[in-house]
Each structure stands twice: as structure tokens, then as C-alpha cells.
């Protein structure tokens, strides 16, 4: 049953092939049995899950079943869950039990989904390998000596290991797409403002966006239809009503114009990875699409701009963790300064500290114009590159990550090399566009992801383009386990 997709489960539950309690119990057992090897969960909420499943079964029996009624999924531990510890992968919040739910959690509960637990992640979503988690690294189910990517590594690994058919995630610079690419899963980062950020612990507010990781584009579309929606509690939410993102899945893509940016196939791209992506583009040509060479000339500035903007926003977003109202507090503070310094020194891991200091530097007197303001100007140039490209093409494609999963520890000593993992994903966050990663082959037995970038609010078409590929190919069905 663990091999079933969300679409399969919805069908099976409605046709009474199995109950929600049965599949939930089986996945819980599987988590208990296998997850010690992957460490993809921080908390498993078995009792709650079974209670939710029983309630879902009752609703299914009564014929009053919402979209995802009885479907077991997992949530990245960045989404606040009422009564369930929400750690954000940090010692700082190891003891934090929110008395409220994130909007995303509310939406899934309303849709009848069952939550199996909370997935592991890089601390405060800062990382591309899931090694910065206070709860230890997540291991890639394809090769447990390798990273699953990050920061949503737990969600991606849990889906890849078939511990759950789908999981929520967040993407600030690639944190959905890069782990999806490294684990052969399908991950969607929607247009900025599609998914409410209420109750989603902020890393960089103007870049953060929630989205799903699943095994197919269809499943991701089903999940996104539940996740997205208007929420007046989030000022940056687009306040657009919920949409059915599966509506266009089956449409033909004949005549589709695919932009292929030359900057995404240059230096830094692993050649075998490039080959797989080229093969996927060839497959699209077979499906009737047309490839158009394009240029996104400011691509090389995306990582530098991001590593000013994201740390700057984070440096302020993380100031609330001060040991006063919740979270980690140091023992016996000598005075107020000591309370702050030690609580934050002990509560935050090294990467988080580093980014806070970088952000503090970029905003400090005398540097604001050279760093923060400059980065925001470059951000507009990057957006303009995309806006111009989308005048000529319907979607843009390229690799998600420059190479397949790397070994645990390989990039830890060099943060900049880690940052370059997101070289193809970061610009999309800066521009606020929707994008996704889907499996397009393997290199030495390790998955490679194809990235599809859609125009603003064009998720339905992007998912259609991905779905048609998955109808024609089998890469997404390859399993790690």
C-alpha cells in the first residue's frame, strides 16, 4: 500500500479497497521500521494520526468526504501544529509546542488529510543538505551515505522512502526543488503569495513559500489545490481563492514553447546531469513542444543577491528567539545581555549564526547601500530577465541542481560551495515565480531533477507540462526502496 500515490489512495478509500486507518497504520509501522535509517521525521504523531484516520473513515462512510479525506501525509517541521512540538530543526525550539496551527495545517485538516508527523529539515530552513538540523542529518534513501538535499530533506526523503505519499515543504532558495531533484520526487514551489505563510516559521519573508513534495505531478497538484488559497492573516498572500490545479493536467502540450536558458547549461553543471536534462528536453520535443534558446543574463548574480537579502531578512526574523517568551533559555543568566547572548548562542547552530551575522553586516550602518540596497536592485534585474523571457516562451526548463546527491559532510566545511547547490533555483525565489522539479533520470544510480519554471500564477500549466512528461516517461516511478 505504501507504493500508492495520493490519487490512488483517494480512489482506494472511496472505493472501500482499504480504510484510512489501515493505510495510516501501515505507514506508521513503516516509519517505525525504516526511518531510523533515514532520520526523515523529527516527530511521529501516531495517536493523533490514527484518531484523524478514524474520523476520516467515518466521513468517508457518511459520504461527506472532502478532497484529501483520509490521505496520510507529513508536514515539514516549520509549520506550526497546535499541540505538537514544532522545532524548525533547531535546539532553539526543541521545547516549543505552538498553541495554534499554520494556515497550511488548517487547510489540510479541513481537506480531511491525516498527519503522520513532522519531518526533519535544515535548521530554520537554512541549508541545502539537511545537515544543519539539530536532530541530525537526513540520509538519502537512494544512498544513505549521501545527503537528500535541503532544507526540506526530511519531506523529500520520507516521500522517496515511501513513508508517506506526500509531504509539505517550503522553498526560500530551492528548498523544495533541490531535495526533490536529489530524491527522485516531484516538488512544487508556487508563485510567491499563493500559499499563506501564517504559522510557517519565517526564514526570509519575501522569498519563503510553502509547497508540496510528492511522487507525481498529479499528486503535487492535488496537494497544492489544498495548500494554496487566500488568507487575510498574511499581508503578502495574493488573496486569490483556492484553485483546482489538476484542471489542466491532461491538456496537450503540442506547440508549447520551452525556453532553454544558456546560463543554466554552462560551467558548474555536472556533464552527466546536463545530459539527462537534455534528454528530457528531447522528450518534450517528441511531445510536440518547441525549444527556444533564451538568455537570463543576470543569473550569475542570483546567488550573491540572495545571500544578502535572505540573511538580512533572517537576521531580523530570528531576533524574536530571545529566551523570554518561548524557546531555549540559557541556565542562570547573569544579566539581560547574558540571557540574550547565551540563549541565542546555544539555541542556534553554526549555519544559522553565520547567516544572522552576514545579514547583520549587510544591514549595518555604512553597508546598507552597498549590500542590501544593491541586492534589491539586482533582484529587479533578475525579475526583468524572466519577464522578458516569458514574452517569448510558455515555460522555462533547465536542471534543478548542478549535480546529483553529494556525500554527507562533503560541503560542510565550505558554505559557499553549499550555496552554489541552489545556483539554478535561487533566481526563481528572487523573482517570485512558480517552479518545480521532477525526476528525469539517474546518474550512477542517483536521481537527476528537471526544473520547470512557469510564468506568474501559471502553476496549472506548469503542472500540465510536468504531468504530460510523466505520462510519457517512467523516471518518477523509479524507487529508492
Amino acid at each position: 500500500m505504501h507504493q500508492l500515490t495520493i490519487a490512488d489512495i483517494i480512489k482506494g478509500l472511496r472505493e472501500r479497497q482499504f480504510s484510512s486507518v489501515e493505510i495510516t497504520r501501515q505507514l506508521l509501522a513503516r516509519i517505525q521500521q525504516l526511518d531510523p535509517s533515514y532520520n526523515s521525521f523529527i516527530s511521529v504523531t501516531a495517536d493523533r494520526a490514527l484518531a484523524q484516520a478514524a474520523a476520516a473513515d467515518a466521513r468517508l462512510a457518511s459520504g461527506d468526504a472532502p478532497a484529501l479525506c483520509g490521505v496520510p501525509i507529513a508536514h515539514k517541521d516549520i509549520f506550526c501544529t497546535n499541540g505538537v512540538r514544532t522545532s524548525c530543526g533547531s535546539r532553539m525550539l526543541d521545547n516549543f509546542v505552538p498553541p495554534y496551527d499554520a494556515a497550511v495545517i488548517e487547510n489540510f485538516e479541513q481537506a480531511g488529510a491525516v498527519s503522520l508527523g513532522k519531518t526533519n529539515m535544515d535548521e530554520f530552513a537554512m541549508g541545502s543538505s539537511n545537515e544543519s538540523s539539530f536532530y541530525g542529518p537526513v540520509k538519502n534513501p537512494w544512498d544513505t551515505s549521501r545527503v537528500p538535499g535541503g532544507s526540506s530533506g526530511g519531506s523529500a526523503a520520507a516521500v522517496a522512502a515511501q513513508l508517506c505519499p506526500g509531504a509539505t515543504a517550503t522553498d526560500t532558495g530551492g528548498s523544495i526543488r533541490q531535495p526533490a531533484a536529489l530524491t527522485n520526487t516531484t516538488g512544487v514551489k508556487p508563485t510567491y503569495g499563493r500559499v499563506s505563510r501564517w504559522g510557517m516559521i519565517a526564514f526570509a519573508s519575501s522569498l519563503d513559500q510553502g509547497g508540496p513534495i510528492a511522487r507525481t505531478a498529479e499528486d503535487a497538484a492535488l496537494m497544492l489545490s489544498v495548500m494554496a488559497g487566500s488568507d487575510s492573516r498574511d499581508s503578502t498572500n495574493l488573496q486569490r481563492p483556492a484553485e483546482n490545479f489538476t484542471r489542466a493536467l491532461h491538456e496537450s502540450i503540442a506547440g508549447l514553447r520551452i525556453g532553454v536558458p544558456k546560463e543554466y547549461f554552462g560551467e558548474g553543471l555536472n556533464s552527466a546531469t546536463g545530459d539527462r536534462v537534455q534528454a528530457a528536453l528531447a522528450e518534450y520535443e517528441k511531445l510536440g513542444a518547441e525549444l527556444v534558446d533564451i538568455s537570463l543574463p543576470h543569473t550569475h548574480l542570483a546567488v550573491p543577491a540572495y545571500y544578502v537579502i535572505a540573511p538580512a531578512e533572517a537576521s531580523a526574523n530570528l531576533s524574536r528567539f530571545d529566551g523570554v517568551r518561548y524557546g531555549h533559555r540559557c541556565e542562570n543568566p547573569a544579566d539581560l545581555r547574558d540571557l540574550y547572548m547565551r540563549s541565542r548562542g546555544e539555541g542556534f547552530g553554526e549555519e544559522v549564526q553565520r547567516r544572522i551575522l552576514v545579514g547583520t553586516y549587510a544591514l549595518s550602518a555604512g553597508y546598507y547601500d552597498a549590500y542590501y540596497n544593491k541586492a534589491q536592485q539586482v533582484r529587479r534585474l533578475i525579475k526583468q530577465d524572466f519577464v522578458q523571457a516569458f514574452e517569448k516562451v510558455d515555460v522555462i526548463m533547465g536542471p534543478t541542481a548542478p549535480s546529483p546527491a553529494f556525500a554527507l559532510g562533503a560541503k560542510q566545511a565550505d558554505p559557499v560551495s553549499m550555496y552554489l547547490e541552489d545556483i539554478y533555483t535561487i533566481a526563481i525565489n528572487l523573482a517570485g515565480l512558480p517552479a518545480m522539479s521532477l525526476p528525469c533520470g539517474t546518474v550512477d544510480g542517483l536521481p537527476v531533477g528537471l526544473q520547470i519554471i512557469g510564468n506568474y500564477l501559471d502553476e496549472a500549466r506548469m503542472l500540465n507540462v510536468a504531468h504530460r512528461y510523466q505520462q510519457a516517461t517512467d523516471w518518477h516511478n523509479a524507487s529508492a526502496v
Binding site: S205, S235, S319
Partner: protein
Amino acid sequence: MEWEIVIGLEVHVQLSTQSKLFSGASTRFGAAPNTQACAIDLAMPGTLPVPNEEAFRYAVMFGLAMNAEIGKRSVFERKNYFYPDLPKGYQTTQLAEPIVGPGEVEIHLEDGSSKKVRLHHAHLEEDAGKSLHEDFHGMSGIDLNRAGTPLIEIVSEPDMRSAAEAVAYLRKIHSIVTYLGISDGDMSQGSLRCDANVSVRLKGEEELGTRTELKNINSFRFVERAIKVEAQRQIDLIEDGGKVVQETRLYDADKNETRSMRSKEVANDYRYFPCPDLLPVELTDEYIDSIRQQLPELPDAKSTRFASDYNLSAYDADQLIQDRATADYFEIAAERCGQPKLVANWMMGELAALLNREEIAIGQSPISAEQLAGLIERIVDNTISSKIAKQVFEAMANGEGDADTVIEKRGLKQVSDTGAIEKMVDDVIANSAAQVENYRGADESKRPKMMGYFVGQIMKASKGQANPQLINKILKEKLDALL
């Protein structure tokens, strides 16, 4: 050497919205600690701000009242610093694009002169919570009920040249915000707080001297005293060869001195940047115009109208319009009794003294405008003398009822019965043989003055109730008859 004092004020005004600037928690004053601090106010993880429309409406009203430019686009920024009463570790405020731009306001001084003070800008921001320093086992307690309450910070140009001007400006701001009804303006509850930037320079000097910032001066009287004492400190310092250090200082009202707050000086670098959880606010011309049309009569207009309609001096009119409640009180009383000048005198005299003594606002006055008018009517129709009226006023203040009730109960009605007064005059003359002799022997020019003695005796005999005009008339007739 002649010194010139240069003052700029930063005035924080709490807006009287129902809910907070970024959350739906109540702003009511005086609730039990932390019962009005919701998840957003507490900066719980994942919570997000949404701005309050009413706060913007109030800020625009203020800007229009100050003849200022309205920021049709305004942007919230984060001001970063750590303090336990600041839950997010930053204050959400406005800097580069505030809601209210440059403007100016006219202030009126006691000597009848007036001058313009320029407004640099005014911005919306959130208030912080409170640290309570009572001893909790050597710790401080934090109450975040106030955290997130909307404020406008009103920043003047350094246009004031004396403590009196600063006070006049502050009173003007106070009267504008209370007229608009956007704040209760209560300084004792911290609804209006004032920081003063003070520097001194030799008269004629162009360049500004080094300034100090006096923090949180919480009454009109203290503003005046704090500025005076700080300016004098700077002058003494410079005259002794010292140098003013740019710093934040605290006014100690008990010692009437300012002292350095070095603990606040630790290398602040606020790292302002646009708040990424909020978007730019854009207001349309239609919206701003609709607010303009709904503005109530403002203090300056009211002052002009009072002076012309009620025939008051500019100074009296200005005193009466200082806050809306006072102006309303005046207008009700003046309309009721038709004696604006008397109403003004009573309000600035007896009533002001009473309110001062009781430390209450005019809204809590034990004597209503209608009651004061009733009292004045009795003076005008000669039922009581002005002197007796003061007794009646005190009785009214003690809750003994309106003027007629007091006069009736205490039997204070003025004696205007000619026969009764004649008898009293006769008695006094009969008992004052020596004074009568003096009067008769005195020079004509000195006689009016000598009548005072007799009047006093008669008043005493009548317990103050005899009509003074009648006494004078009858007494003069009777004394002159003896010549």
C-alpha cells in the same frame, strides 16, 4: 554673551483605535498583565502582521490638520534592537516613506505673538510593552499589553527657541490630536509622550550646537522645566570651557536636573530595512479627500470663531480652545447664559483652580457647563453677588446641587430690599460716631475712599448678601445728608 536655545520635539501620540496596529488584540488601558497580548503581539513563531485601517485614517487626519503632505505611498520598516519589551527584536515603524510628510503649525505665545513651527514628518509605528521593576527575586517583569499599540511619532524641525515655545507647540499638538479625536492625549497614562532635542548656540550663530535628547518628559510642566535646566546645564558647561556630548539624558523631576542615560548608548545600529512581511500602503486621492471632508473644526479655526462670535480676546480664545472638552464646555455654558466673557473668566479662574486642585480633567468636572451657566445667570440677574457666587461655586463643587438649590438651601439670596438695607445703613451709622465725624471733617476728595469702612460693616452685617450697588447708593445719600 547672549545664548540662544534651539529645541526640536519628538512627540509620540497613542492612537485611540480599538485594536492594535498589527493585531486584533484590544488596546484598552489598565487590563491585567499580558491579557491583551495575542500571538502576534508576543511575536510567536510564524505569526504575521496586518495593519489597522483606522490607524492610517487617524494619521491622515493628523497630517491634514498639520497642513502636511500625505504620504500616498508609505512603507513600514524594521528598526532592530533587543529589549525585553520589544518581542520581535525589532520595532515596526516608518522611516524613508512615512505616512505624513513636511508641514507646519502656528503656535501662539502668552505675549500675544505667534510663530510657525515646521513639521519634519510624522510616522506610524508600534508601541513597546512595559518592564516592571518591582522586585521579582531580583528580576524584572514584562507586560506586553501595550506592545503593538499604534503610535504616531511627530517630529518637528528644530524651530523652537525657548521652553515656552516648546510647551506652546506641545499644547498645540495635544489640542490637535484631541480635537481630531484620534488620541485621548492623556500624558499621565502615557498616551502622549515627549522627547526633546536641546542645543544652545550664541545668538546670531548659524550652525547648530551639539544636541542632547531628553527622553520621556511626561507633563507640560516638566517639558518646560527640563528644557530650561538642560539648556542652562549646556550653557554653564560651555562657559566653563567644556563641550556638550551628544547623548540621551533623563529628566529627574524631583531633583530638577538631567542626567546621562549611558546604558542606552551602547553602540546602537538599528539596521532599518523595509519590513518584508508587509507591503507598501497606497492611499488614493479620493480616500484622502473623503477624510479631509470629515475633519472636525480645528483649534485655530475655533479660536478665531470664539474671538469673533463671543467677543473674546485672542488670548482668552486660545486658552479656551486648548482641548476640545474645554472648548465644548465653554460653548455650552456661553450659549446657555449668553455671557461668554463671564463664562471665560469663571473657567480660567475658579474652575481651572478647582480642576487643578482635584487633579481632574474638565470631563470629570463636578460642575457641568449647564450648572456653571446657571450660576452666572444668578450673578447677572443680581440674585447673588460675585463674592457670594464663589461660595455657591464651592458648594456646587462639593455636590450640593445646582446654583439655585445652593442659594435656596443656604439662604444666600442677595438682599435688594431697600428698606432692609436702609435699616442696616442706619444701624452702622449710629454705631460709628467717630468714623462719621471723620467723614464729615474730611476733604471732599477723600470721602469716597472713607466710605469703604461703612460698606464693609454693612456687608458684614448682611453676611455678604446685601446688594453692593444699593448699599453704595443709600449709604452715600445718608452720609451726605449728615454734612
